[in-house]
């Protein structure tokens, strides 16, 4: 049974790979969203100080 589970884990990790290309693509989108939200927060902050 332990062997069966070990093989399942190994097979899943070998075949379901999150490639560097995929990781970079989503990181880029995430960074864009974060930047957008940070910029809007800064604008809000400046306008509230005024």
């Amino acid at each position: 049974m332990e062997n069966f589970l070990q093989n399942l884990k190994k097979a899943a990790k070998r075949h379901f790979v999150f490639s560097a290309k995929q990781k970079n693509r989503i990181r880029k989108k995430l960074n864009e969203r974060l930047k957008h939200d940070i910029d809007s927060e800064k604008i809000e902050d400046t306008s509230s100080k005024k």
Partner: protein, 188 residues
Amino acid sequence: VPHYKCAPKGGTHMNVNIKQKKRYLLDAYEKYSEQIYRYCIIRVRSKEYAEEILQETFFKTWKYILSDKEINDIRPFLFKICKNLIIDHYRKMATKNKREECLEDAVKKRSNISYLSFDQKKEMEKEKTIEEIHKIISFLPPSYRDIVILRYIEEIPPREIAQILNTSAKNISAKLNRAKKKLKQLST
């Protein structure tokens, strides 16, 4: 990823500035995106949907962090959001009566889950293995599937799985034992 609370008790949430929040989320992305992606792709059987759900998981977490709510432990938090998004995904598919189409797409698109090998024979073996993994997971009752993926593929401790699935660690251990018994039928 360091222990982090967006709104520490007795303190002000402004202790944590937005740059720290950004760093916190990006660190979590570096550390856990691969695990979450694998969980998604096993559950939704499509590279495209898995990517969409992974992305949405981090967007939702970011929104939560921005609202200064508390996160004690980021990994179970991310998995929990992801699990709910997968449920939404299947609900959407069901209402649109597209679930079958989704699975068919997955079979067609599965050839995209290939990276280095150009050898057709190897490719076919890979397809077969992927199909077998899906068969093993589908063989389990629905309530055991997440638990088995999280425990035996992602090696997440029962205590953390309990947090993800809103139950007790004891309950998870009991279900794991039952799932093992069920899987024994396949392994023999």
